[in-house]
Amino acid sequence: MNRRSILKSCAAVISLLALVPLHALAAAWNRQAFESDKVEGALQGLGVTGDESSPEIEIIAPQMAENGAIIQIEVISRIPGTEAISILAEKNPTPLIANFMFSNGAEPYLITRIKMAETADLKVIVKANDKYYSASRRIEVAVGGCG
């Protein structure tokens, strides 16, 4: 192999490497937060240092869920500068359900379906301008869905 071909193959490897980290750079899964069996631990894992209750967060969910395995929830944040919405079910074996991060024109809005082990408060944490806001909603669960 002459010098030129070595340089060429190096360049090829480097350009391949340059493509890979794009994916690796995306934040790694937050194991500490998701595997915590307590709300406090999950919040700590998310870096939430304290949250202020806000009427600008709306949670639309059934008051009573027959089946805890599928509960459709809708969350809307009207707090300007909302960057992320986290969803926690206080009595689930691992309370943190999801953390959604919005950018480039995505509205702080989502609908998804969650599992709840038993009747509990559904807690939503909104991150906006490096501050945290929260809202809660009680959901009665007839048959738990966290098996």
């Binding site: 899964w29 599928i70 953390n99 950018s103 480039n104 995505a106 379906r113």
Partner: protein, 105 residues
């Protein structure tokens, strides 16, 4: 693999509503099957949505998202024909992705 996901994006009054359905068992790791064995955890951990290649939504999920996850999100500033892509990665490293275009309502 594309049949493992569905996507629909509709633009109305300046807001594009995107609906995504993923086919995945979302096992918590706590379920006991019919023969008394614990089914290992198997769940989607990360979901990424892009509009014309630009990230608009990044989600991290735990085991509390229901089986065959469903998600609606909304975008401002998208135009008819814009390309949307949604991909996921689960705890076993499996991935899937789907593409869609913004349609009129």
């Amino acid at each position: 693999m594309a049949d493992m996901m569905k996507i629909r994006a509709r633009l109305k009054d300046g807001v594009t509503e995107v609906k995504v359905l993923m086919i995945h068992p979302m096992e918590t790791g706590r379920r006991i099957n019919d023969v008394g064995e614990t089914v290992p955890a198997h769940f989607i951990q990360m979901v990424t949505a892009t509009l014309n290649g630009k990230t608009v939504l990044e989600a991290q999920w735990g085991t509390g998202i229901s089986k065959n996850p469903y998600l609606t999100f909304r975008l401002r500033g998208a135009s008819l024909g814009d390309k949307l892509a949604v991909s996921w990665v689960d705890n076993k490293g499996a991935t899937n992705a789907i593409e869609g275009v913004v349609e009129g309502s």
